[in-house]
């Protein structure tokens, strides 16, 4: 055997002469970092880098799950397709980041192990991404806050010392730019729309704005890695203020949500919304451990 990789083994295992063993298009799930040089960079603690990749990967995975919950519920078919595409981008980023975390932390866990077999207190996402979907205004506002902050972060991480994280961020920044554009244009359309759409955008901002601050609050791992997210605050707020002004929406003055004894999502302290989300995400994998098809 020259191939140690899952999908190549799958491709070889089939009864057909050409080895076509996948039961349907797209079911050959390859390692998203297949054959990418996995050596950790010198001078960086692999455990810290793994923890950081887990944070960013969990953000992307959980928001991806929230977005796909919009399927069959979006106001228009085009928006459903758009939200599915955004979720797919985030899922792809999550797969790469979780795989990277598993490579670095020495546990040997792959992306599936990390996604399906951790409890909510082991998830390291910010709480903003786990909150219930709410109405379409909340969907738009959450996307606006998250995509604006994450694009800015990915642009910086594209120059990170870890070549894998840098490459994931470089592509992710281009994808997040589309997410931000989508959310920005809907923010303007709804904020500067009808009386009702304006009112609902105001309500959505009131609900979600307090959770923005967590994206700028450094965790000790981020400080040790030199990726202090508080540096994002000024450029991200400036970008958000421009969009909100165009949308005739005021910049909320509400304070950031309090931490629980100094801890929040990055420490595994979550809202009650995460548990049910993970239950839905994980139920099939847990009902049929190790299942293949």
């Amino acid at each position: 055997m020259t191939d140690e990789h899952v999908y190549l083994s799958l491709a070889e295992a089939g009864p057909e002469p050409d080895g076509e063993a996948r039961w349907a298009y797209g079911t050959g799930f390859a390692d998203p970092l297949l054959g990418v040089d996995a050596a950790p960079p010198a001078g960086i603690d692999p455990a810290d880098l793994a923890a950081y990749c887990l944070m960013l990967g969990d953000d992307a995975l959980v928001l991806s799950q929230r977005l796909i919950q919009w399927i069959t519920r979006a106001p228009e078919l085009e928006e459903e397709v758009a939200l599915a595409n955004l979720g797919l981008d985030l899922l792809g980023q999550a797969r790469r980041l979780l795989t990277r975390a598993g490579q670095l932390d020495g546990s040997g866990r792959d992306e599936d192990r990390l996604a399906y077999w951790r409890e909510d207190f082991d998830y390291r996402n910010v709480r903003l991404v786990e909150l219930e979907n709410g109405d379409f205004a909340q969907c738009v506002v959450r996307l606006l806050l998250f995509a604006t902050a994450r694009e800015e972060l990915y642009r910086r991480l594209a120059h990170h010392a870890d070549p894998v994280l840098a490459a994931v961020a470089a592509l992710g920044a281009k994808e997040l730019a589309y997410h931000r554009e989508y959310a920005s244009s809907w923010t303007v359309r709804l904020g500067d729309g009808t009386e009702q759409s304006h009112r609902r955008m105001l309500a959505a901002l009131e609900v979600l704005w307090p959770w923005l601050e967590e994206l700028f609050t450094p965790h000790e791992v981020e400080l040790r890695l030199g990726v202090d997210p508080s540096e994002l605050r000024a450029p991200v707020l400036a970008a958000l203020e421009r969009v909100l002004a165009e949308a005739t929406l005021p910049v909320p003055e509400t304070a950031g949500r309090a931490y629980v004894d100094g801890r929040a999502g990055r420490h595994g302290v979550h809202t009650e919304a995460l548990g049910p989300l993970l239950a839905e995400l994980q139920v099939v994998a847990r009902a049929h451990p190790g299942a293949t098809w």
Binding site: T2, D3, Y7, L8, L10, A11, D18, G19, E20, R22, Y25, G26, G28, F29, A30, P32, L33, L34, G35, V36, E78, V81, A82, A84, N85, L86, L88, D89, L90, L91, G92, Q93, R95, R96, E151, E152, P163, V164, A166, A167, V168, A170, L171, G172, K174, E175, A177, Y178, E181, Y182, S184, S185, V188, P235, A239, R242, V243, E246
Partner: protein, 166 residues
């Protein structure tokens, strides 16, 4: 130093894209490199989008074609740095896309570094791949796959896909 076997490269370069079979992986810029050392062939692929579900199919197709061409030791690896860009689609690839009714991306049309300051959607003149009219409008930035947007021609009234710049 590895040598580049022209035949292995030709075989890999001829593999069609699973979703856009009128294009090869080479046309699409997904095939990043083909190396040969001591009889073992390594093909390097660069995925388009982070979540592109076709990459496993692409890798399996490349591996299968190379084996069918007589290469026994074949490895397919991913190269994610530098990331894929729509600029990697060859001129031939753009021509094939247009011939198939899909508007190709504009070379060098990636967004500028200061896009953070931009608010609204970028206005672009996109010619209808059916009738050539430039009187077209974007219906949705997100289409049937991650790499496409959905457009409509106001002249011939036909909808069409367009590969996005990234």
């Amino acid at each position: 130093m590895s040598t580049v076997p022209e035949r292995a490269r030709e075989v890999a370069a001829a593999v069609p894209d699973p979703e856009l079979p009128m294009l090869t992986l080479a046309d699409l810029g997904v095939l990043a490199d083909v190396e040969e050392a001591d009889g073992a062939v390594t093909a390097w692929l660069t995925p388009t989008y982070s979540g592109c579900p076709a990459i496993a199919e692409m890798a399996a197709d490349v591996s299968r074609r190379l084996r069918a061409a007589g290469f026994d030791r074949v490895e397919v690896r991913l190269r994610i740095d530098p990331p894929w860009s729509s600029d990697r689609i060859s001129a031939e690839g753009r021509r094939k896309l247009a011939a198939a009714g899909i508007a190709p991306p504009v070379p060098g049309g990636m967004r500028q570094p200061d896009r953070m300051l931009q608010l609204g959607p970028t206005r672009r003149v996109v010619a209808c791949p059916q009738c050539g009219s430039e009187d077209t409008e974007e219906l949705s930035r997100f289409g049937s796959t991650a790499c496409k947007s959905l457009w409509r021609c106001r002249s011939c009234r036909e909808p069409f896909d367009r590969i996005k710049e990234i």
